[in-house]
Amino acid sequence: MSFRFLILALVAICLLSCQKTTIDPINNLNGGVISVIGHGGGGFQSPLNKEPENSLSSINKAIEIYNADGVEVDVQLSKDLNVILYHDDKLETSTNGNGFIYEYNLNELRQLKYDRDFYAKMLLDEHIITLETILKRFSQRNIKPQLHLDLRPWLFNDTIYNSTEFHNIYTDKIVETINKYNYQNFTYVASGDLELLIKLNQKNPHLKLMLETDNVNWAVEIINKNNWHGIVAHNDRITKSEITYAHSKNVRIALFDIKIQSDIVDAVNKHPDYILTDNIIKLHQILYN
């Protein structure tokens, strides 16, 4: 009786593990290749994805182990105007610090430890890093990983700067750091803020600028007018026909919020140019198996 149960259990596990997926041949502006970009590095932290997003271990894992084409990271400015990689608005949601990134100098931020869950608290020793940290590493690699920057222009001390002043400093610092490592040809900068993208374009016209929006028709006109690179859109809020339309206007598409297998298959079948995913290995399996 127990042996039968054992065999049934094993058969059930095997059947559940052997899901088949089908994808169409890719037709995009990237020569039929979808660039695989790790969201926050190796994917956002979860009970099964242990490294905190934007941490060095997560970014290294995405590039070195998972062989991703690039990573997407979130950039903020510290009090002493260093470009910091951090996703959340507040420090306490992912680290042992409190408050905002812009309230601390780099030296203080470096002391903070990621501690969102048990694993990070007890078994990892990951600290907040700067954009420069990964540019140093990326610029020395034979094949340069794509660097997708997600801007966070609303996070600044409004008792010191007004919005325009801050945006000037923010874009200056980002461009200065990228230029220092001559990485502009591999850097993609995404924001929903048009003024910010215009400033970036003025400061370094080689940056690949991506407008973050779900309104494709509106975005295609703006991107073509400004000679920007493409659109970053939520996978659930954009259709395949909208992507085909964007491609017909020479506008590239990056999709995000792609975690589980069904999301990945859905996104791949829309033929975007970039997929920002939390599951790099799964996306590779689906693309190249």
Binding site: S2, F3, F5, L6, A9, L10, I13, L16, S17, C18, V33, V36, S46, L48, N49, K50, S57, K61, I63, E64, I65, Y66, N67, Y119, M122, L123, L124, R141, N142, I143, P145, K259, I260, Q261, S262, D278, N279, I280, I281, K282, H284, Q285, L287, Y288, N289
Partner: protein, 166 residues
């Protein structure tokens, strides 16, 4: 989490060596795995050797990756209906990293020390769980640098098991 362990036991005191089988499910660095192993039992010692497969419904990356398990247990308490043990576990997971640059295999080695208990359900059938800490090493091929690399990190393991001793 689906967990299972079956063991057929036949506690014959006069036997120098007894056999058992075990099914287990664990959560550790390499993800959720299901394993089957054969245990050799001698007095308070148990040495198990078996295979495991990492399992996922959709999120965890190492789907269907196979590996081997070597598991040593020392029973601190052996009462008729309950056993408590400490265990040293080694397992590995080999997964093929598919990409347009190639499909070389990476391997994760996991080493854990754990504590656990087994409770007799009926006859020689036991169920139990264990928790442990340890380390992992992940050896990988870095395509863009064309070289091998490795990572070392801490590890935790939660395991549920069913066993039967012949």
């Amino acid at each position: 989490m689906f967990s299972s362990l079956i063991s057929y036991t036949q506690n014959k005191e006069d036997k120098w060596l007894n056999f058992g089988v075990e099914l287990n499910t664990s959560l550790s660095y390499s993800g959720i795995s299901t394993g089957a192993q054969v245990n050799l039992l001698h007095k308070k010692h148990s040495l198990g050797v078996g295979a495991k497969i990492t399992y996922q419904n959709s999120y965890f990356p190492y789907q269907n990756a196979l590996g081997i398990v070597i598991d040593y247990k020392y029973f601190l308490i052996t009462k008729p209906n309950i056993k408590a043990f400490v265990a040293i576990n080694y397992n590995n997971t080999t997964y093929k990293l598919l990409s347009r640059d190639g499909n070389k295999s990476n391997i994760i080695h996991e080493y854990t020390y754990s504590n656990g208990i087994l409770i007799k359900v009926f006859n020689n059938f036991w169920v139990g769980n264990s928790m442990g800490i340890g380390a992992y090493t992940e050896k990988y091929y870095d395509y863009s640098e064309a070289e091998y690399g490795s990572y070392l990190g801490y590890n935790v393991m939660f395991k549920a098991m069913m066993s039967y001793e012949f």
